[in-house]
Amino acid sequence: MPLVVRKLFRRRIVLAAAIALAIVVLVATFAGTISGQDPNETAVAQRLAQPSLAHWLGTDELGRDLFARIAFGGRYSLIIAALTALGAVAAGTLLGLTAGFFRRLDAPLMRVVDAMMSFPDILLAIALVGILGASMLNVVLALVLVYTPRVARVVRASTLVVRELTFVEAARAIGGSNARILSRHILPNLVSPITVQGSFIFAYAILAEAALSFLGVGVPPEMPTWGTMVAGSQAYAHQALWIVLFPGLAIIFTALSLQLLGDGIRDLLDPRLRKSM
């Protein structure tokens, strides 16, 4: 194992978060094999059954196995959040590098970023999905637009620091082109802050997707994500609290692991911060 990873996992809480995340991904990937149940098979006779050996987390209002639905729903929630994190990181890095490196573009680009960030996350995402139409791809697109400015700000700030370092000057002195300096000298030094942002945005995107789907302006309601599951079952919460409880716990478990991991990476980067968290 590379030294960095070993150092990262020396803190037990970070290791625990990584393991928790691995479990979530594995359960979602092998959802069918692990649960041994069809997430869409209805059995009205067994509706709202309590958690038992046959149905680990009980059943929902149509008698569908809740564990199987959470496991399958995790696929969509994780894919949407992962694509959002990747998209926002890619777009934000490009924007941040450009603003930080080409001084003339800095002010105009950053004012647009400021303007984008004056909208509350969820409100902007709702408006965007409302405008684009509710589909899985549009949810990803909307969330990428919401989180790109966040990444751009961090990448710009780091670029401003790195571009003044002597090795950049040296690279320019030996005739390196802008493209070469950006890709070979500056970008590699930004990998860590970008990774940290990526893991936080992954966590935010899990929460945001769930909120959008809950409000009915996210993915189509028949697609089982953790958000649509809570939305669909909330009317039955007074009879069987677990059908609302467990999808929410899945969200918390995943988002918490991601944030702990992101925090771990950040502490590794900046030992000064370690004392503050």
Binding site: A115, M116, P120, L123, V129, I131, G248
Partner: protein, 302 residues
Amino acid sequence: MLVVMSLVAVLVFALTRAAPGDPIAVLLGDQATAEDIARVQKVYGLDRSLPEQFALWLKELAHGNLGDSIFLQRPVTRALWERAEPTTLLSLLAVAIATLIGVPCGVVSAVFRGRAIDQLFTGFAMLGASVPSFWFGLVLMQIFAVSLGWFPVSGYGEPGASLAARLHCLVLPATVLGVLNSALIIRFTRGSMLDVLDEDYVRTARAKGLPETSVVLKHALRNALVPIVTVIGLTVALMIGGAVVTETVFGLPGVGNLVVSAVTRRDYPVIQGALLVVAAIYVIVNFLIDLLYTVVDPRVSY
């Protein structure tokens, strides 16, 4: 600030016009003929070119006119104003709760750094940022409204209900928003206090024999306030976004609710107006915080 606000206006306009789907066609239904649609489009000015529409919209904006809602048959400003009270009260209550939880917890956490109570509070701060508000709302609703019956399950009281009755309806939603958003305030207060507690003047205050509470509250907290005030201001903005979700869970007739229904009906003027007003509030709050710095820290001057 003005530059950002004008960009916000351009973004808002571009956003709503980038939409596929014709609101007029939706409004008139399947029976409408092409002439009907063209006629109504003319009424709303949707038949003109985009730059013309934008210029028209800006002109009206300068007069404080946000246009008319396509579905509610009333000006957007009035629709927003009618829905403003629950959202405003909810946000203010929630900010108060978040501050009352966040600042003391953060201070205690910093003073007892590394001890069990610190780990408890920082763990809580981490958890708070991972809990979906709609889920927390539903769970609290089940416990305190459905099972115990202490609070109304949803809604904003009967029309004409007293202020006390309306506030009673806001207790649960404000708790949801306040508790979850206190997480950020705890983290910032703790971090800011930790920076300050290492300073020489804190050691001096201790050395001259001041009681520890006076050292922490008068000498340390006073100097740690700038980041704390900043994050509380940020929370105000977060509340307005968070209110959208919470209002829906608790069935409150607020601005968030208005936006969600406007989105499902493609009611552009309402979406535009709401985004614009909320962004303006955000920019103004940030500006006020900048001004507040001079009060909190006399060294800052503009």
